[in-house]
Every structure is written in structure tokens, then in C-alpha cells.
Symmetry: C2
Subunit: 218 residues, 2 copies
DNA sequence: GTCGAATGAATCGCCGTTCAGTCACGGCTT
DNA sequence: AAGCCGTGACTGAACGGCGATTCATTCGAC
């Protein structure tokens, strides 16, 4: 009911520029343009109130073209989410590898999740709000990537317990969910509110402190 | 665009029972029946995938009747949310008044938010998931009741800071958002997952411990 | 008989999706 | 080099289904 068809991934690294004579080859570049447009539109009006034709217009593409790259409107949201979460996850893995100790890593994780969104209010809004709008996404218990993300958070905590840095009388999974929820809640307020610069960074510092103290073994 | 019409609130305390000869007077009782049915339907399929006719059927009422009590499908969700949040808030205010000290009160708050939902998986699901589905609800920065709820949480924290129990280098508002997010995240997983009995209670204990340690002045 | 709550079939506008047609490209033939 | 095709990406008007909402009608209570 929702296989992704046609799509060729990674290919010709898409040198981004419109280049010379608008090619006639299907490009990942176009797929990306659609995703970017979708972020804007979804953020402004929410998934259900967004029209496919609006996304098409914003992407500078015909309505039908969207269906060459995605199966359905739902698939656009899902792909968007998968795609961006994957990026975040990759960035996190790379970055956290540079740090020693569960505390430092957890702090960095919090800073990064909030930090990356600080400059991307629209994306933040789509992820926190719209994710919950596609029933399918949630029913499947979140997409694979999302579960992967939570498991990653849980593993950071579990590592800390194993090394003796963190209390081991709490469930890493529950803590991961709670931490994600906390970050998500703060982001939501920020995105829907004034979204003032630096707001998330300040929140990140406070939250990191709170969680580290809360998890500290003593 | 969304004034609530016709509706008579609180009146005749609705003695709940179907009573004798199904009256021909508009009753709060019927309104409540519709809300209860809406919880079930929304929980099962999500707000957008739910059909007004399904709610009507579940409530044992004609489609059109719903429009005698609510302005629109959106209004049903909004009313549901306002109504239930108000109940929770009232219960919380009463309960917390019985406890001395910000720590005890915060712990009780966490236990209650999770505890009240423990027996009401469907309601939990509607509140955590569906709330975010009505763009309007969110855009208005959450309903009045929701803001009220958050302010209440923030005030518990602020009290603790004033009394010297909690660190005062964190923003009560940010912490309230984060705490709500954490509880919400845990509830969401629980509601969508196995929802095993006692799961939320256990989570409540862990979360309370974590937050109290994190907020503790030292 | 009057009032108005309740009904539920019919309406009607909307919007996701389709698909017949267009057109750019690149290879092939001459 | 110039003309000719075949291919398939792209287009966007038109379709079709769906479901929220309406409202003419029913009927119970007083």
C-alpha cells in the first residue's frame, strides 16, 4: 500500500545549481526541492490543511510531478521525516564519537538536538507537530528511524549505567522516551511561540544540567 | 468562526442514569455521551481518520445531533480537551493542597498526571496524540486550559525555588514545558504500545526521582 | 396544537490522484 | 551536419470519491 517506486537514490551527487539546460533526467535534486517545499508548507498550515498543489507550487513543479517521486501525500511527510531524522542521527553518531564519558555525551546529545533545530524553526515545527498527524506514522510505532533514534538515546544512558556514571535503578528506555519528550516539548513551545534566537540553547543548558544531576550516581 | 452555540452548560447535574422515558430536552448528558464516544473513536483511528458518523453511531445518536451540541468536528475535539483538562486541573489543585513542600507536591503532580491516565488509555491517547492534530488548537498556542495547566506546573516549581527547596537557576516555565513533554512522551509510548498495567506508575516513580534530584538545591 | 429536539438522507465543495498529451534530449541514420 | 525517432520526465486539467454539514421532516412532551 505504500511501496516507494521509481525512485533512484544517490546518483550524480546533484551539484545543486540549476546548471545549464534544465536536464530531462529525473534528479534527486528535484526530490529534495519537493521535500524542502513540503517543510515550508506543512510548517505553515499543518499536514492536513496543506494542499498537494501548494507544495507543488512552492517547489516550482507540477502537481503530478510530486507523484513521480512520492506515492502519496502521506509518503511525502513520511519521507521527509525519515530523511531528516537520518541526517540528525548520522550527525549525532559522528559527533558523540568524539566525546568520552556518558555524561559528556548525553549533554552533547541534548545540545545537538536542540541546537540543530535552533536555526530551522520550520523543520522543528514539522517534526514536533506534524509527525503526530499522520496516523500511519504513529501506528507503526513511529518509523524505523524514529525508533532507531530513541534506541540510540537509550544506549547512551545504558552505557552510562554500565560504566557506573549513572544510577542503574531507572529504565534507559523510559528515560530516553522522557528525555525525547522533554526536548520535544520545549522545541514545540519555542517553534510555535516567538522562537527567539538563543532560546533553545539556553533551554538546552538547563535541561542538560537537570538530567545529568538526575541521573548521577551517588 | 467557532463560537459555541446553543449549549447550556452545567444544569440539572445530569443524574447519569438513563432515567425513565428518554426526555426530549437537550441534555448535558447527551453532550457527555458524545464526548465519551469521541474519545473512543478518536483514540482508535485518530482525529482526521475519524468520521463524524462514526462518533454519532458510537454515541447512539444521529449525525445531525452532534451539530446541536458542537459547532464542528474540530469543536468536538477542542471541547473534549478543554473539558478533560479542566477536570484534571481541578483534581490536581484539590490534591496538591493536601501536601506540604514543593518536592512532595511535584512528586504528587507527576504521579497524578500519569496515574489518572493509567486507567484511561483511550483518553491518554487522545490527549497526547490527537491534541496535536487540530492545527487550530495548537496555533492558538494551546487552549486556555492547557496554558493554565502549564502555568500551574510552573508555579509549583517557582514555589519550590522561593522556598529554597529548588535550584533557582532554571526557568520554571521551561522546566514546566519540559516536564510536561516528558510525561507526555512516556504516556504516548505507553498508550500506543502495550499499555501494560502498572507501567505508568513505575515510570512515574522514576521520573519523579529524576526531576526531584535534578531540581534539588545543593 | 405548539414547540423544538432529534433525525438521517441528500448535498456540494473540495482535493488527492490520475493519465493523455507535450516536449527535451540523445542516439541513430543518411 | 542535419533530420528523425524513441524514450521517459514532466505537465496540469479533469475526475471521482468522500465526508462534513445541512435542513426538511418527524414526533415526543407539555
Amino acid at each position: 500500500m505504500t511501496e516507494r517506486r521509481f525512485i533512484r537514490r544517490g546518483e550524480a551527487a546533484s551539484s545543486e545549481g540549476r546548471a545549464k539546460g534544465g536536464g530531462r533526467k529525473r534528479t534527486d535534486d528535484k526530490r529534495e526541492r519537493i521535500l524542502r517545499a513540503a517543510v515550508k508548507v506543512f510548517a505553515k498550515k499543518g499536514f492536513y490543511a496543506s494542499r498537494v498543489s501548494e507544495i507543488a507550487k512552492a517547489a516550482g513543479v507540477a502537481d503530478g510531478t510530486i507523484y513521480l517521486y512520492f506515492d502519496s501525500k502521506d509518503d511525502v511527510l513520511e519521507s521527509l521525516f525519515e530523511d531528516r531524522t537520518e541526517r540528525l542521527l548520522t550527525a549525532l553518531r559522528t559527533e558523540l564519537a568524539k566525546h568520552e564519558g556518558a555524561s559528556a555525551r548525553l549533554r552533547r546529545l541534548i545540545e545537538m538536538q536542540l541546537g540543530l533545530l535552533e536555526g530551522q524553526r520550520e523543520l522543528a515545527e514539522v517534526i514536533t507537530v506534524n509527525l503526530r498527524q499522520s496516523t500511519r506514522l504513529l501506528r507503526q510505532y513511529g518509523s524505523k528511524r524514529f525508533v532507531e533514534y530513541l534506541e540510540f538515546m537509550a544506549s547512551v544512558i545504558a552505557d552510562g549505567q554500565r560504566s557506573g556514571e549513572f544510577r542503574d535503578d531507572v529504565s534507559p528506555r523510559v528515560m530516553a522516551r522522557a528525555l525525547f519528550g522533554a526536548l520535544d516539548g520545549v522545541t514545540l513551545t519555542w517553534a510555535l511561540g516567538e522562537a527567539r534566537a538563543g532560546g533553545l540553547d539556553k533551554a538546552a543548558a538547563q535541561l542538560a544540567e537537570l538530567w545529568l544531576r538526575g541521573l548521577e550516581k551517588r
